[in-house]
Symmetry: C2
């Protein structure tokens, strides 16, 4: 599988490392019967000499890898579905792994990938550790990052979505219904998507000439409990907001629950816009008006991209944001006059 | 990979088929460079001679396969999580495929499996086509069925859950709260789990000496819209039920929505019990009292079982139902007096 022009070089590299060519080959292919010390030595030399497997060689199997830091997130399923769709039409099978933390998958996963030699890797992470990047690149295994947090590292192929526009259309919808006391709950303040959506909200308010009440702008978490506790605070203020733009559908469910326990009817007494448009947005009571984040389409795009990269070297690092759009359902209405 | 005692036989089989031994080996391993006609001929002879690869041989890769007829179902994620948990602790990777219809995965999937040679296969189907069973068995690839519909074919290893008990505990809970006008919406009338849960409901009512109003027993579908439309009918009756036992959490969400649009408060005016205990049951407003169907545990059990089967031949076909249990949250309460 190694083209002959490079064979000599691997021979030299083996000599330099003081190991056999077969050992070098084992390291290249992620085989487990190599000591950690030898593996490190060979990897270092591969890096030093800038070894690069020729792209376009057939991968051993017909696999595409999908890696998540955690499957607990509500939108994992939408992403799985997207990769699965593209895999099916390309006669590939999807290897699904939950590994690592929010920043990078674990080293154990990396070794497994070299052994499985997939067509490519789709990662749901903000970044990939430098060693992992180097290892995948040297084996000509392409990878693409899907980053719903909206801030992927600058040197990796990445698919995101238009967070700022999402914040804008959600808020504009509430303004058009006649609301002026509009609150925004966004995500954690260490995620760029939180800021992007909030900036969209601010721009909508500013261009409509509506002053923003600072007490109405909150950072939280994207979970149900986050929405519930912040909404309770907002809704028990004397001059409470008549509409809340939530940072996620789950957060919006928390807002609905807070409203219910306070005896407020949605959308009569309170309008709510969610974010993500997960399946459950249709199932909530009332059905959620929300911003559609095209998670399935993002995953499809990432899978298609990785397949394309496996077939030819791309000139530039592909990066794109897919469009978001508003989906109007039953949780928003005009405010009660007065 | 074929033990020598059988080598002769494969030689003979190749001769009988008029092909080379290497062609037979290609068919055994799901390689694509064999004509469909040759493949069928060799498969037929393998079946005729009862060829059986010796179990316990190392699989080529460290994969475990998980196959769904569709990933659209709300509980797919819970099952994926379970298989992923067991795979991780056993250093295996999960290949996830959406294939076929409710009855069996597609032939294309089967060919892929032979090529990938996984440790084993977990299927979310009621059954597996006879040819697929024979092919997997002859290659010593073990498989286990997870059948949430509650009626797996009798000759396959299967993991289910205690549907009858689930119906019983849900109804008993409502009776203990003081309800007597209790309706039951169950699933489609071609799924045995619908009948099992309904029978549990009947037994709870009968042993409590409460007469069942026939109009209160309905078959529907397990989706939100099914719950909504049947609940509308039930709740607009003059002598409407004060409690509804729904066939799934999604159905229960539909019941909540029907109640809301009719101006009925849950649980004050209407108690609702769901079924499944999906994550979203905690997120509904109010949070759902529901029957926990241990989907993740069922998947874990199936994955563990398939690994055990890959290591040794089991004497009997393993089949089991895991226990269900009631989870009380905020959607049930005592009926209003009078």
């Amino acid at each position: 599988m190694i083209d002959s022009g490079r064979k000599v070089k691997l021979n030299e590299l083996a000599a330099e490392a003081g190991v056999s060519l077969s050992t070098v080959s084992k390291v290249l292919n992620g085989r487990s019967d190599v000591s950690a010390r030898t593996r490190t030595k060979v990897e270092d030399l591969l890096g030093k000499h800038g070894y690069q497997r020729r792209p376009g060689l057939p991968s051993r199997d017909t696999l595409i890898e999908l890696v998540f830091p955690e499957l607990e997130t509500a939108w994992a399923m939408e992403i799985i579905r997207g990769v699965e769709n593209v895999a099916r039409t390309n006669d590939l099978s999807v290897v699904l792994t939950e590994s690592g933390d929010r920043h990078s998958p674990s080293p154990a996963w990396l070794t497994g990938v070299l052994r499985r030699r997939p067509v490519g890797v789709v990662l749901v992470f903000a970044d990939l550790a430098a060693e992992a990047k180097a290892t995948l690149q040297s084996r000509a295994i392409p990878f693409v990052i899907i980053d719903p947090a909206g801030d992927p590292a600058s040197d990796v192929p990445a698919i995101g979505s238009a967070n700022w526009s999402g914040g804008l259309v959600a808020t504009r919808h509430l303004i058009e219904l006649g609301h002026t006391r509009i609150a925004a709950i966004t995500g954690r303040d260490d995620m760029m998507c939180s800021f992007a959506r909030l900036d969209g909200y601010r721009s909508a308010m500013n261009t409509a000439g509506i002053e923003i009440d600072d007490r109405f702008v909150r950072f939280g978490n994207f979970r149900v409990d986050g929405g519930r506790s912040i909404a309770r605070e907002l809704l028990t203020m004397p001059d409470r907001p008549t509409a809340i733009f939530a940072g996620s559908d789950l957060q919006a469910l928390g807002v609905i629950e807070a409203a219910r326990t306070l005896g407020l009817r949605v959308p009569v007494d309170l309008s709510i816009v969610g974010y993500d448009d997960l399946q459950l947005a249709q199932w909530s009571s009332p059905a959620l008006t929300t911003v559609h984040q095209p998670l399935t389409a993002m995953a499809e795009e990432a899978a298609r991209l990785v397949i394309r990269m496996s077939e030819s070297t791309l000139r530039t690092i592909p990066r794109m944001d897919l469009a978001t759009r508003l989906v109007v359902r039953d949780s928003t209405a005009a405010p009660i006059a007065g």
